[in-house]
């Protein structure tokens, strides 16, 4: 049977590019609006659109917050993009302190705190680099190294635990570009907006 991929719907809308990437690989997908929808999925994507507060409220309203945590615990694959990744952390400081899903231990912090000399939000293409301390187990990380991906964010992930991650440099500071943790892939950048190199990430996720 072909796999079914769910796109978590925060009712914000700019997920056309995620759908397009799935359609590129003829993927069978559905929009996930509640825990029942989630049960039908083999894998899910948390798209990177909207604000933390609005999206988190929507997840709670749709009773998807605990359902997504269970989905992760069952060992099913998750791809979390930009804000979708940030929602998985313990808390965020976008528009005041807000609690996240706490699947990854860490805090979402405003780039403004880092007194960097470049405009905020960070919008544009940026090179992904190897993180020295990261142990590489498969081709996922190595394929990202020294290639450009599209970023659009004003907040970054600051992890409290040692996860396997790659980094990018903005305004002379280095931040998390992607993370791997068990059955989870998270990217701060947008694979669906990063040309054909970005589509490779979808392929990796879909082929897992």
């Amino acid at each position: 049977m072909t796999q079914r991929v769910g796109i978590i719907n925060y009712n914000i809308g700019n997920i056309g590019s995620v759908k397009r990437s799935l359609e590129f690989f003829d993927t069978n997908y559905l929009m996930v609006n509640n825990a029942k929808d989630l049960k039908k999925c083999d894998k899910i994507i948390l798209p990177g659109v909207g604000s933390f507060d609005f999206s988190m409220k929507m997840l709670k309203k749709k009773k998807l917050d605990f359902a997504i945590k269970d989905f992760f615990k069952e060992g099913k694959d998750i791809l979390a993009i930009c804000l979708g990744l940030q929602l998985l952390l313990t808390e965020s400081e976008e528009f005041g302190k807000k609690k996240g899903l706490n699947i990854l231990s860490g805090k979402v912090e405003n780039l403004k705190k880092f007194s960097i000399d470049s405009p905020i939000p960070h919008i544009g293409w940026c090179m992904v680099k190897k993180n020295k301390n990261s142990i590489v187990n498969d081709s996922f990380e190595t394929n990202l190294y020294n290639k450009y991906y599209y970023f659009a964010h004003g907040l970054i992930c600051n992890f409290k635990k040692k996860y396997k991650f790659t980094k990018f440099i903005y305004g002379n500071k280095s931040f998390v570009a992607s993370v791997r943790h068990k059955n989870l892939i998270g990217t701060q950048f947008h694979p669906e907006l990063s040309g054909l190199l970005g589509l490779d990430i979808y392929k990796f996720f879909l082929d897992k």
Partner: protein
């Protein structure tokens, strides 16, 4: 850092890409979907779809066309023209846009910017600022495709837009638009120093030297239209000749 963006601007009027001089005297130059695909394959960093008559004639943007463009490219699509409300934005994002650029309606109702940023996140909300010089050191912003004066000073507006939570600003000099004559270094420098957000410039760019000066002045991107549509410049060539630009592009 190599994150300067080359952004083709497709000015669209009733299904055609057109190009005018100082935003008037429009002539047809091609099919928006075909041009978007071509520029994507050439290595564009983003596509700017600008419906230039939506606000002017109080018409609605063409959702079907936005859908057709977005389903054929794998880079960000920025959409502008006649966007009045959060509902409009929902519809445009649903059609596959990744960012929206507000202009006329943000000037009329600045709180549209803050409302939009709270729902969609600042990084998805861009403000398009069309401006014209009226005196030395006075540039006024215009609405409705460069037709209506607003009595708003560009420097005040840049600050206001930032404080309302926009994520990016696109400046278009109406004096230079479509005439292949680049704006002076001094105003560009002044705008950059007053703007804390990512800043894109368009209007009269006609050479790699123009683009290089934007890079040197720490701009984040260049909007290019005429010279691309009429094949006086091409993106592959721009990327070959300039540093600080994403180059390892495999889009074909």
């Amino acid at each position: 850092m190599k994150n300067f963006r080359i952004i083709p601007r497709l000015e669209v009027k009733t299904d055609h890409v057109i190009k005018g001089i100082r935003m008037e005297g429009l002539r047809k130059v091609g099919d928006p979907v075909e041009l978007a695909i071509k520029y994507f394959k050439d290595g564009a960093d983003e596509i700017f779809y600008d419906d230039i008559v939506a606000s002017l004639y109080n018409r609605k943007y063409n959702i079907d066309l936005i859908k057709r463009i977005s389903s054929n490219i794998h880079i960000p699509l920025l959409v502008s023209g006649g966007i009045k409300s959060l509902n409009n934005m929902h519809e445009i994002f649903n059609a596959g846009a990744d960012k929206v650029a507000l202009n006329t309606h943000a000037v009329r109702n600045p709180h549209l910017i803050s409302k939009a940023a709270r729902v969609f996140g600042s990084q998805s909300i861009c403000v398009q600022v069309q401006f014209k010089q009226y005196h030395e050191n006075y540039w006024e912003i215009l609405t409705e495709s460069g037709r209506e004066r607003t009595k708003k000073n560009i420097l005040d507006w840049i600050e206001k837009v930032y404080s309302l939570g926009a994520g990016e600003i696109i400046l278009i000099s109406v004096d230079h638009d479509g005439i292949g004559n680049f704006i002076g270094r001094d105003p560009l420098k002044q705008f950059r120093s007053e703007c804390k957000l990512p800043l894109i410039y368009g209007g009269g760019i006609n050479s790699n030297t123009n683009i290089q000066s934007l890079i040197d002045l720490k701009y984040d991107g260049a909007l290019i239209s005429n010279v691309l549509h009429f094949r006086k410049m091409d993106i592959t060539n721009i990327k070959k000749n300039l540093s600080k630009i994403r180059t390892n592009i495999i889009n074909i």
